[in-house]
Symmetry: C2
């Protein structure tokens, strides 16, 4: 999926059809949510966000839909530790970075991590591989700054 600021319903419908997925109300809702919320939400996040408006939606359908979307390579499934799957509508070549403090997941694109291009090549040229994932972990700048401020406070 290519991202504009706000992805329209029509765009989502086209996208699903392009991946041979029949665009039901529920599938559209899930895909639209993912396309417009680039925070790598979990199934639960998605379910909780959509349920109030799409009251008919069941948790099972969210599972079904995301498996279907992942199978069709319309979304990317991430699983970095903590035994929960996160979903990403951006299927382009990029890495992920999870902050140990705030637990947010950030995207890291080729502009920042040029290595990604080489990893992609590696996958393309080695028949054993069909995909590669690069995950970073650490404390994100925001959390590092907060920590820094806390420390300073102590010494005033």
């Amino acid at each position: 999926m290519i991202f504009s600021d706000k992805v329209s319903k029509t765009k989502v419908e086209e996208y699903l059809r392009a991946h041979n997925i029949r665009p039901s109300i529920q599938r559209m809702a899930v895909m639209e949510y993912l396309a417009n919320h680039r925070t790598h939400p979990s199934i639960n996040d998605i379910y909780r966000a959509l349920h109030p408006t799409v009251s008919t939606l069941s948790r099972t359908t969210v599972y079904n839909t995301l498996h279907l979307l992942a199978e069709a390579k319309a979304v990317k499934e991430l699983s970095m530790e903590d035994n929960v799957c996160y979903y990403d509508a951006d299927t382009s070549n990029h890495a992920h970075y999870k902050c140990r403090q705030c637990c947010k997941i950030y995207d890291l694109f080729e502009t920042e991590i040029p290595l990604l291009a080489e990893i992609k090549k590696l996958v393309e040229n080695d028949s054993r591989f069909d995909s590669a994932d690069l995950y970073f972990r650490g404390i994100c700048p925001k959390c590092a700054e907060k920590e820094e401020r806390k420390k300073k406070q102590k010494f005033i």
Copy 2:
């Protein structure tokens, strides 16, 4: 941990002490198992393997021990999809490769993936990061060959 063919009990004890972990019977058993079984076992694998001999061992202790070992960086915790943690006694810089067919996890070392050195450098030079993991997926050569043979059979 540096691996010889078979890691001795004394070696395991030294290794634990070096990581400030008191070498109890249970911890020794878990660490020794991990050191001598380079198959990236899950908690359950370890528990099921050890329980018959160390009959006193509880599942909770295996969890406690592995968390402790991971915390002390004596082992590496892997979590590639399927929401189960796998453990690796080899804490050197290497990537992992999981076969979609047989689900085995293979090690990929720097000799094979020179990129690993660059990723390491990246982590060392970027304060946001403290670790990176590179995971590959695909069909392993053994499984690919099996598949090939099956196909041929069909046409005889």
